[in-house]
């Protein structure tokens, strides 16, 4: 699982560098993102701008991260492409996640 990481203040920006987030990538994704939650409260911006395909397993993996977020932390998703957004909408999960247009917009909503 290729993910680029960078910190902005106390928050972490994770850019998924995979074009597809499907069932074959789910375990690696959960592990790569989930390890950032082990240190306690930290908000995560998940940049999906490279991801052009997601299936229900991929959505489930992102949902599992949301459910594991420590209290007081936020998970913000940004950079969602049209095809991936159509899956968020179809599954109604666009109502569950905080979604922003891009990283800058996502970061601006977080307290640094």
């Amino acid at each position: 699982m290729k993910i680029a990481e960078r910190k902005v203040g106390a928050n972490i920006i994770l850019e998924v560098l995979e074009t597809r987030l499907g069932a074959d990538k789910v375990l690696a994704f959960k592990e790569a993102v989930g390890r950032h939650l082990e240190g306690g409260a930290v908000s995560i911006v998940l940049d999906l701008s490279t991801v052009g395909f997601i299936d229900s397993s991929g959505l489930g993996a992102i949902l599992s991260i949301l459910k594991r977020m420590p209290k007081g932390s936020e998970l913000i998703i940004c950079g969602i492409t049209d095809s991936v957004m159509s899956m968020f909408k179809l599954t109604r999960l666009d109502r569950v996640f905080t979604i922003k247009k891009n990283v800058d917009e996502a970061v601006s909503t977080l307290s640094v």
Binding site: R20, G22, A23, D24, G52, F53, I54, D55, S56, S57, L59, G60, A61, L63, S64, L66, K67, D82, S83, S86, M87, L90, T91, R92, L93, R95, V96
Partner: protein
């Protein structure tokens, strides 16, 4: 040509029953959907449906075993796209497969911990495809999905006798 005299295109591909082989068929479906004239977003959802059906074969019919085959058969007819996913694993209960699964798409945003992380595949297929049919067999199981092609060009072709 089919018996009815309409032109069609047929494609068959087979992969090993490995989840990491599925993207290859997904990418093929992307091309098929483009060729079929589906809008990009609609085509990507059709691709998702095909991937979900293949994942089901690998994860449930073969219980994750790698040493089997999953066959994708695509028939592109003037008015519809027919996609068959074949496996030779354990058959599922057809009645359960055909039940309405769309309740899996209901979410209560104020109860995030209660939202299931899995179980949306069939619901997505039921929502996107015009129809689907699961046919268990003694040798092979078939998961058929049909999507209508309602194209302006197609409508013109149909209404204009040659």
């Amino acid at each position: 040509m089919t018996e009815a005299g309409t032109p069609w295109k047929r494609l068959t591909l087979e992969i090993e029953s490995r989840l990491d082989a599925v993207p290859l068929l997904g990418q093929v479906m992307q091309l098929v959907c483009t060729a079929a004239g589906f809008a990009p977003t609609e085509g990507s959802l059709v691709e998702v449906c095909v991937v979900e059906a293949i994942n089901n074969s690998i994860e449930h019919a073969y219980n994750g075993d790698h040493d089997h085959g999953v066959e994708l058969e695509v028939n592109l007819l003037p008015n519809q796209l027919i996609v068959d996913v074949w496996d030779s694993g354990t058959s599922a209960d057809a009645a359960k497969m055909h039940a309405d699964h769309r309740h899996a798409l209901e979410v209560h945003q104020d109860r995030v911990q209660d939202i299931s992380e899995s179980g949306r595949g069939l619901a997505v297929i039921q929502e996107v495809m015009d129809s689907f049919e699961y046919t268990p067999g003694t040798e092979r199981n078939r998961f058929r999905m049909i999507k209508r092609r309602d194209l302006p060009q197609l409508r013109q072709d149909i209404s204009t006798p040659s």
